[in-house]
């Protein structure tokens, strides 16, 4: 910034001295830079692009937030687009009451956190096994592990649905916890990969010295490696939690007819109930738009809060999978 003002000052001084050739060169330098990438035009382009992409990205979120505060009059009034005429919490009150929000939220957190914790524990153990030991068929098993990422759940869901109904696991959280604890949870391959990459980077001399002191392999893992891996553990847990929280396809199948429902599913149910009550095009249905958006906001709110506090962890996650190659 200082440099910018100095250049401006120099240009003005040069123009006062009627040295237009040098002033012209300076102006050109200012806008185009020495090799274009350090000029003003380039900077302006970058920020303009970033701002417009940012707007496109945030548009639905902003739409959701502002419209959820609108009254019926505001929604019908085409003149009101972004800022509601007055803050109206009626929509939120409706949702909080109708969805029984706080109980549903606790249910949803329980429903997402238990498989997430199981997946974190199991993928840490499995990743450690793959990273630190050599055993026959290791390469094959590792490839098979990565392949599970591509297999869509539609293939496995039918036999699993039958298996769960046979063992009376349908409608209970166990249908999610059991696969997770055996390393087959949602995107399990990705989490194993994160731990694999992390444990591989730690020098082997560390556990050799511990073994000389008489520690068993299990003790080496729990006393030395787990404390080192805490950043990875947090990342894996956060991702797993978020993905389980947002998961609706499989939970719609496994938890059908159960009272234990994730918040997004409950919201869907609630919306469907309401839209069937009011006829198409009626005013009450127009009002519902805002109520539904308020429901959306409340569903996403826990995740948004979580993201607000932990966004650094999310953002550094990809580095830890090591897919960029070391």
């Amino acid at each position: 910034m200082k440099k910018f003002f100095r250049t401006i000052k120099e240009i003005i001084q040069l123009t006062f001295k009627k040295d237009f050739t040098h002033a012209g060169i300076k102006v050109k330098r200012l806008f185009m830079g020495v090799r274009f990438t350090d000029g003003l035009i380039y900077k302006f382009l970058i920020y303009a692009l970033l701002l417009s992409f940012g707007y496109v990205y945030l548009y639905p979120v902003l739409y959701m937030l502002t419209n959820s505060f609108m009254t019926m009059e505001d929604i019908i009034d085409a003149g009101v687009r972004w800022i509601p005429t007055k803050l109206n919490f009626e929509n939120y009150r409706l949702v909080l009451v109708e969805l029984n929000y706080f109980k549903s939220l606790l249910d949803a957190i329980y429903l997402a956190a238990s498989p997430a914790i199981s997946a974190t524990v199991s993928s840490a153990i499995i990743g450690y096994g793959f990273a630190r030991f050599n055993f026959p068929l290791k390469k094959l098993l590792f490839v098979l592990m990565l392949m599970t990422f591509i297999v869509p759940p539609q293939i496995t869901m039918l036999p699993m649905f039958r298996m769960f109904s046979q063992y009376k696991l349908l409608g209970s959280i166990k249908a999610f916890v059991y696969p997770a604890i055996l390393g087959q949870g949602l995107n399990g391959a990705l989490f194993i990969l994160i731990f694999y990459q992390f444990f591989r980077m730690i020098p082997k001399s560390l556990d050799e010295s511990a073994q000389l002191d008489g520690a068993t392999p299990f003790k080496v893992f729990t006393r030395i490696y787990i404390p080192l891996a805490i950043p990875s553990i947090i990342i894996v847990f956060l991702f797993s939690f978020v993905w389980y929280y947002n998961e609706t396809y499989l939970s719609g199948l496994y938890l059908r007819g159960s009272t234990l429902l994730s918040l997004p599913l409950k919201l869907e149910q609630y919306i469907n109930n309401y839209t069937s009550i009011y006829p198409e095009g009626s005013q009450a249905r127009e009002l519902m738009q805002a109520v539904k958006l308020a429901g959306n906001v409340l569903t996403l709110l826990p995740l948004l809060i979580l993201y607000f506090f932990t966004q650094k962890r999310f953002v550094e996650s990809i580095d830890r999978t090591g897919i960029t190659g070391e």
Partner: protein
């Protein structure tokens, strides 16, 4: 109190361990593992290591067998049968490839939905990748507030979930209102064949949603870009390469492997997203929501899911293959 409890526990544990390792089935003596006092295996360090390693991934092997391998083959097996629910028991009649035939020849919906899915993926994946790359390049520039930009562009990964997106789509919040108001786009759309124009128009309607799938890919590219050695750029600059040339000659080749990774991730995440029409249809068939007996039930839905999987893998292979063909002919 607690200490005595633990010392008792560890004494008990060592006794159990002793019993487990000193009996007639399995005995450890002088660095040898003896089974039934007949089979003797020398316990080398290597063998011990592999045993420990296997015991760490044991839970994965069990899980893979139960929750991946068995279901995969079971659904393949079921896809050749007509399955009828008879109380709790299943009544199966062998059908050969009739289920697959029915999907293409008899089912009035499946082919249409599948073609729609293929068109959508083929159109959306390159857009997602290109946008992710552009955004990653922008963030990688020396700009102010890098963290804030990254936070914004990663936000969709956190909040993308079926019902929320469905509601936003229903209310038109996923289309930018101003895009339709650009005259030039309307002009183009009105003057081309509707068979080309309609998908393009739909694309503009859904561009936001397509971009929302780019969060992870942006991070992948960003991580890749930061790994590129700055000295290469400096060397090329000395040789007179501009930013444009150095992008095509240095940046793109060095992150090309990551493009394949991103393509795979994009295709998979779009294919299993809960608003995808194909997977909704498969679930409905499985739960028996159609009245037509020929295109209903477990067997048929298993066949559909296998067809879907094959199509998905083909799409991935074609994309990744195209990328690699270009690379070979250039070098």
């Amino acid at each position: 109190m607690i200490k005595t409890f633990f010392s008792k526990l560890s004494a008990l544990w060592s006794r159990i361990k002793h019993v487990l390792t000193h009996n007639f089935i399995f005995n450890i003596a002088d660095n040898k593992w003896v089974f039934f006092s007949v089979i003797k295996i020398k316990a080398t360090n290597k063998k011990r290591q592999s045993l420990i390693g296997l015991s760490f991934i044991f839970i994965w092997i069990v899980g893979y067998l139960i929750f991946a391998l068995y279901p995969i083959f079971n659904s393949l097996y079921l896809s050749f049968f007509k399955v009828k629910l008879d109380g709790a028991a299943l009544q199966m009649t062998f059908q050969g490839i009739n289920n697959f035939k029915a999907a293409f020849l008899y089912d009035p919906y499946f082919v249409e939905i599948l073609v729609g899915y293929i068109l959508e993926i083929v159109m959306n994946v390159p857009i997602t990748i290109v946008f992710a790359l552009i955004i990653a390049l922008l963030i990688n520039q020396p700009i102010k507030g890098k963290g804030i930009w990254r936070t914004i562009f990663f936000l969709p990964v956190i909040i993308i979930s079926g019902p929320v997106i469905a509601e936003l789509m229903r209310q038109g919040a996923t289309t930018l209102p101003s895009i339709r108001e650009y005259d030039i786009i309307r002009l183009i759309l009105n003057n081309v064949n509707p068979s080309v124009g309609t998908p393009i128009q739909e694309l503009f309607d859904r561009i936001l949603l397509v971009l929302w799938f780019a969060g992870i890919q942006i991070l992948i590219f960003l991580a890749g870009l930061q790994k590129i050695d700055r000295e290469i750029y400096e060397a090329s600059m000395v040789d007179g390469a501009g930013p444009w040339a150095s992008f095509w000659k240095i940046t793109l080749p060095s992150i090309k492997p990551l493009i394949s990774v991103s393509i795979i991730y994009t295709v998979v995440s779009m294919s299993v997203f809960s608003l995808n029409e194909v997977i909704i249809y498969i679930r409905n068939v499985m739960l028996g929501e159609s009245t037509d007996a020929l295109i209903n039930g477990y067997g048929y839905s298993a066949a559909l899911s296998w067809l879907y999987f094959i199509v998905m893998v083909l799409i991935i292979l074609i994309f990744v293959g195209l990328l690699n063909v270009r690379r070979r002919s250039r070098s």
